[in-house]
């Protein structure tokens, strides 16, 4: 959207703009880095599988069954991915609404991550749609299904992507040296922030609400009427855990961009985030216990599914919560990163349990994702990382904004 406006506001002749773009399109890092060597072949195979999916149908590359119609592409890419991208709205809330300036240095990278995650997860969603072209029906209003949770989630999702793009757009303007556009876009930020957070709260909970009608089809240990609330609470610490882990990786990979950011105290930020995560997980755990007692779920514990449930709650909620608490007390950043990793695995486990593993747990033929589904999922993540890297190396995401951006107003 904003790409269309920006070139017009640039005060250079158009040839200069194209020369600049051509220069920027060239790779800036090492071509034969270990990450590239691993990811490139997978992306090629993934693209071939995507081609086959459109040529021969979804069934030709996936193991989806009539009982379990949503597999890895929805259960991981969309349901889990949206929770992982929750960091964007949490940090925007902390920095722009609560005015916690401490977290400002990691705001742009988090917003960019969130935006790219949403962009690529919607691409994954399109792959999973049997008749993807008909998605225009939802957008142009050819029969709005306003009573559908999925309809509301879809619209909140779409509008939130626009809000994220607006929140990030000042960085694009700074990169293109578009001062006038920068001023306009910065002015729009507050609106994007307020509506972005609202839209996030609703679509994060909406993804939980998607499964409300599957009562009786999801194992009672995972199904409850509070799914929307549980989803939105867990998206807070899932998002933060992603910010912690992603930040730690950026610290190593993008050292060049981080140069000269003297006031950038990453450890302080990590400790603060671990405190918020621990509190979020405590609230989540309390809700889980409450629901468990309220629904009288004791009877299910002494079964395979029951032990699997305990494994998820003890191993991936209680353990990382305690790790976050301890590491916050002793300022142990190494432990924070481990806790973040366990938290992310736990969220993945929880979302997969609800959407795939305990979904029709009683069905005769179990759904196990095919290798093609895994490769396509990896392909989407890798392309996203490539795009992220391309942007971080060019735009002021981790590096400082140009001087004029501060004096522009």
């Amino acid at each position: 959207m904003s790409e269309n406006i920006i070139p017009k506001t640039i005060n250079e002749p158009s040839t200069g703009f194209w020369k600049f773009m051509l220069h920027e399109l060239k790779p800036k890092g090492k071509i034969f880095s270990p990450f590239n060597i691993i990811s490139f072949p997978i992306i090629i195979v993934g693209l071939i599988i995507i081609f086959l999916r459109f040529k021969n149908g979804i069934g030709s590359v996936t193991n989806l069954t009539q009982d379990v119609p949503w597999g890895l592409w929805i259960g991981f890419d969309v349901v889990t991915g949206v929770a992982f991208a929750g960091g964007a709205y949490v940090l925007v809330f902390m920095v722009n609404i609560l005015n916690l300036k401490k977290y400002k240095p990691i705001l742009r990278i988090t917003v960019l991550n969130g935006f790219l995650a949403y962009l690529f997860y919607s691409a994954a969603l399109l792959l999973d749609l049997g008749r993807p072209l008909s998605i225009v029906n939802v957008i142009i209003g050819n029969n709005f299904g306003v009573s559908s949770v999925l309809f509301l989630v879809g619209w909140h999702f779409l509008l939130y992507m626009l809000a994220l793009l607006l929140e990030f757009s000042p960085a694009i303007a700074e990169w293109l040296n578009a001062r006038k556009a920068h001023k306009i876009l910065t002015g729009l930020t507050m609106g994007a922030v307020v509506f972005g957070i609202t839209l996030s709260v609703l679509h994060q909970s909406g993804i939980g609400a998607l499964f409300l009608m599957a009562k009786g089809k999801i194992h009672p240990l995972w199904y409850n009427e509070y799914l929307p609330l549980l989803f939105v609470v867990s998206s807070v610490f899932a998002g933060i855990a992603m910010v912690i882990l992603e930040g730690s990786i950026s610290q190593k990979v993008f050292t060049k961009q981080l140069e000269g950011n003297a006031h950038h105290n990453h450890d302080d930020i990590l400790v603060g985030l671990s405190k918020i995560s621990a509190l979020g997980m405590f609230v989540y755990l309390s809700l889980i216990v409450l629901v468990f007692v309220h629904q009288k779920n004791w009877q299910y514990l002494n079964s395979g599914m029951g032990q699997w449930f305990l494994f998820e709650i003890i191993g991936f909620v209680i353990v990382p919560m305690l790790l976050f608490f301890t590491s916050y007390r002793y300022r142990n950043t190494g432990m924070i990163k481990i806790a973040a990793l366990i938290t992310l695995l736990g969220i993945m486990l929880n979302r997969m349990n609800i959407s795939i593993i305990s979904f029709r747990w009683d069905a005769a033929d179990r759904y196990v994702p095919s290798w093609q589904e895994f490769i396509v999922t990896l392909t989407i993540i890798f392309i996203e990382i490539w795009v992220l890297r391309w942007i971080v190396r060019r735009m002021p995401v981790l590096s400082k904004s140009p001087e004029w951006a501060h004096n522009n107003h």
């Binding site: 005015n99 998605i135 409300l212």
Partner: protein, 290 residues
């Protein structure tokens, strides 16, 4: 056209009612959930005491929907509906001997698939049939996630996949005919008519021969009421039928969430702006953000 069709239905309905309950033509209809609708809900009564399990309806259904001819009908193991067949008949060993059970879409009065569908491709017609409209569907399969009876099936092997499920032969009904399975059933196990009349017929059969029938109409209250209803010689859990289905409508499970969306969309921005005003430092200009 519209008036003619409606007139025709009234004629059919009146006839069915007359046959079923004799002179009693204008009784009150408490079971009708959607009494504000112009047309009365129609449905099917499936009598498992009468059904002989000949599988004939499977062939008629396949022909009416241009699907492949049924296979394995003689197999003893339980068959499921899938993307090649909208209905199957399975035989179950029960306390009263072998009982045949037909499976197809239940055509809920308030269908979960219809509430789930974000393009209204799954659509509950005024007539009672839940139909799937090809030009609307985007193939998200949320209907399959939501349906408590696991009815909608998806053509995974197709590049332009369809949802396959019983549509109560809606195209035949529009032409004034009745569903193929009911029309051809040699044992008259399938009675098509107004839902309220069918409940009366079912009650009468149960009342007249209590030794033959289990005193229960499956579908009268299941999922908030379905257009397709079953009466059986044995308890329904002996027939492999889902007896844990809620007796309230499934879309009601999401009503709370959906009705909370608009208030949150309106109130939360105001709250956020309030917090922002309360926490912003006085000496810094507003546009310092980001």
């Amino acid at each position: 056209m519209e008036i003619n069709r409606r007139f025709f239905f009234k004629a059919i309905g009146a006839t069915a009612a007359a046959i079923a309950v004799g002179q009693e033509t204008s009784a009150s209809e408490p079971d009708l959930k959607k009494d504000n609708k112009k047309e009365e809900l129609h449905g099917m009564l499936y009598d498992m005491v009468l059904c002989k399990g000949c599988h004939g309806c499977e062939y008629d259904c396949a022909e009416a929907h241009q699907l492949a001819e049924p296979v394995d009908t003689t197999k003893s193991e339980h068959r499921l509906t899938d993307e090649t067949r909208c209905t199957v008949v399975n035989k179950h060993e029960t306390s009263k001997g072998e009982v045949a059970v037909k499976t197809q879409c239940m055509h809920c009065s308030d269908p979960a698939c219809g509430a789930a569908c974000l393009t209204q491709a799954m659509y509950k017609t005024e007539h009672g049939a839940v139909i799937w409209r090809e030009d609307k569907c985007m193939g998200c399969r949320y209907c399959m996630i939501s349906c408590p009876f696991d009815v909608p099936k998806f053509e995974y092997q197709s590049t332009n996949p369809r949802i396959i499920k019983c549509d109560m032969c809606y195209n035949l009904i529009q032409e004034g005919e009745i569903p193929a399975c009911s029309y051809y059933c040699p044992s008259k196990a399938l009675t098509y008519g107004k839902r309220s009349d069918l409940i009366r017929i079912a009650r009468k059969r149960i009342h007249d021969s209590p030794e033959k029938y289990e005193d229960y109409i499956y579908g009268e209250n299941e999922a908030g009421g379905t257009s397709w209803m079953y009466i059986s010689p044995v308890p329904f859990n002996e027939l492999g039928m889902n007896t844990t289905i809620l007796t309230s409508s499934y879309p009601a499970l999401t009503k709370g969430f959906i009705s909370s969306i608009a208030p949150v969309d309106i109130l939360l921005p105001a709250v956020l702006l309030g917090i922002y005003e309360a926490t912003k430092s006085k000496n810094k200009p507003l546009d310092e953000e980001l």
